[in-house]
Amino acid sequence: MGDLGIFGFGPGGWGLALLEGAAMTLLVSACGLLIGAILGALVAWARLSGAAVPGAIGQAYAALFRGLPELLVVYLVYFGTSTLLTSAAHAVGYEGFVGVPSFFAGALAVGVISGAYQAEVFRGAYRAIAKGELEAAVSVGMNRWLMFRRIIAPQVLRFALPGLGNLWQVALKDSSLISVTGLTELMRISQVGAGSTHRPFAFYLGGAALYLVMTLVSNQAFEMAEARATRGMRRATG
C-alpha cells in the first residue's frame, strides 16, 4: 500500500486537509443536530398537545422523513433551497439570484431528517416524567413557564440523552452524504485525495478511521454525560 507519507502534514501531505474535513464534518453535523432538535421539539410539542391538526402535521412530517432515503433528501434540499429562496426573494421585490451555500443546505438536510427521529426521542422522554411531579408543580402554583424551566426541560434532556447520543452518531454518518453537494467535509476530502493521488484504498480507509475516532470519542462523551445526568437516580438495572 506504500508509505503513509501522504497522510503527513508536510507540503505533499493530506493530513491537514483530512483533519480540516473532519472539523467541517463535526461542524455541519452539529448544526444539523441543532436544527433537528428545534424541529423535533416542535413536532413533539405538536403531538403531545393533543390538538388534532398540529399533531397530524407533526406525524406526517416524521413519517415522511423517515420513509425517504437520506441521499434523496440531500439532493432535494440542495436543489430546492436555492429555488425557494430565490422565489421568496423575488416575491418581496429582490431582483437577483439568491445562492445557498452547500453548508447550509447540507446542515438543513441532516437537520430535517434528524428532527423526524428526535421528535420521538423527546416525546418518549417527556412521557417518562413522573406524572406526580407535574401534578405537584401545579398544586404549588407554578406557572407553565416555571414548570417547563424547572421540571420538564431538565428531565426531558436527561431522559433523551441516550437517544440523542445515538442520533448524533447518525448525524455524523449522514453528513458524509453532503459530499455530493461538493461541501469539503471529510468524505469529500477523502474522495478528492483519492482521485488526486490515485490511492483510493488508503484515503477511504483513512477517512473511515477518522470517522471511527469521532464516533468512539462521541460515545465516550455521551456515556459520561449520561452518568452525570442520572447520578443519584434509581434505575432498573445495576
Binding site: 468524505m187 483519492a194 473511515a208 471511527l212
Partner: protein, 226 residues
C-alpha cells in the same frame, strides 16, 4: 412527462429491490455468525465480534461502499486474485458492502432479542430434557423473534434507504434514474419527487407487513376478548 418518468423509475425498482433483498439476507447470515462469535467462550472471538459491530456502525456506509468498490479494485493484488470476477461487478460490490453494514446492526438486534428471552423459560425447557438445536428451535428462537420484530422492521426500512447509495457506485437504481431524467429533461423536481414517492411506498409496505406479522405472532399475548 409525469407518466414517462414514473414508468422509467418503476423500471429501476427491481434493481433496488434486488440489492435490498440480497444484502438483507447475506447480512442476516453474517450477523448470525457475528452473534454466535459474541456468545462464544473464546475471548478473541468476542473481541472480534464487538470490534466488527463498532467499526461497521461507527463509520458511514458511503465510505464503506467506496472502500469496497473503488478501494479494493485499485489494489493490483485484488485484481489478480480469484475474487476479482466477483468484485468487478458494481452490483456485487453494492450487495457485499450493504450486507457487511446491515450485519452489524442485525447482530445487535439478535443480541438484544436473545437477552430478552426470560431465563426461566430456558431453565424450564432444560428441565424437560430439551437441549441444543431443539431448545433453540422450540423456545429461544420464537421468543427472540417476537422481541426482534420491531427493531428488525426499522432495519429493513433503513436498508431500503441505504440502497439509494449504490447510485454513487454507477448502479442504475431508482435514484440514479431520477437524476438521469433530471439531466435529460432539465426538469428538477418531478422525477425526484416521484422517486421519493416510490421509496416511501415501498417503506410503507414493509412497515405494514411487519406490523401484521407482529400482530399474528402475538395473538396469544393479547388480552382475552369480553
Amino acid at each position: 412527462m409525469f407518466i414517462s418518468s414514473l414508468l422509467k423509475l418503476l423500471g429501476a425498482l427491481p434493481l433496488t429491490l434486488e440489492v435490498w433483498a440480497l444484502s438483507v439476507v447475506l447480512g442476516a447470515l453474517i450477523a448470525a455468525g457475528v452473534t454466535w462469535m459474541r456468545g462464544s467462550e473464546s475471548k478473541p472471538m468476542k473481541l472480534f465480534a464487538r470490534a466488527y459491530v463498532a467499526v461497521f456502525r461507527g463509520t458511514p456506509l458511503l465510505i464503506q461502499l467506496f472502500i469496497v468498490y473503488y478501494g479494493l479494485s485499485s489494489l493490483p493484488a485484488v485484481r489478480a486474485s480469484f475474487v476479482w470476477p466477483f468484485l468487478k461487478s458494481a452490483f456485487n460490490c453494492g450487495v457485499l458492502s450493504l450486507a457487511l453494514c446491515t450485519a452489524a446492526y442485525q447482530a445487535e438486534i439478535f443480541r438484544g432479542a436473545l437477552l430478552a428471552v426470560a431465563h426461566g423459560q430456558v431453565e424450564a425447557a432444560r428441565a424437560c430434557g430439551m437441549s441444543g438445536l431443539l431448545l433453540f428451535r422450540r423456545v429461544i428462537f420464537p421468543i427472540a423473534l417476537r422481541h426482534a420484530l420491531p427493531a428488525y422492521s426499522t432495519e429493513m426500512i433503513s436498508m431500503v434507504k441505504a440502497t439509494a447509495l449504490v447510485s454513487l457506485i454507477t448502479l442504475w437504481d431508482v435514484l440514479s434514474v431520477a437524476l438521469k431524467i433530471r439531466n435529460d429533461t432539465l426538469v428538477t423536481y418531478t422525477p425526484l419527487l416521484i422517486a421519493g414517492a416510490i421509496y416511501f411506498a415501498v417503506n410503507y409496505a414493509i412497515g405494514a407487513a411487519f406490523l401484521t406479522l407482529e400482530r399474528r405472532l402475538s395473538t396469544h399475548l393479547r388480552p382475552r376478548p369480553g
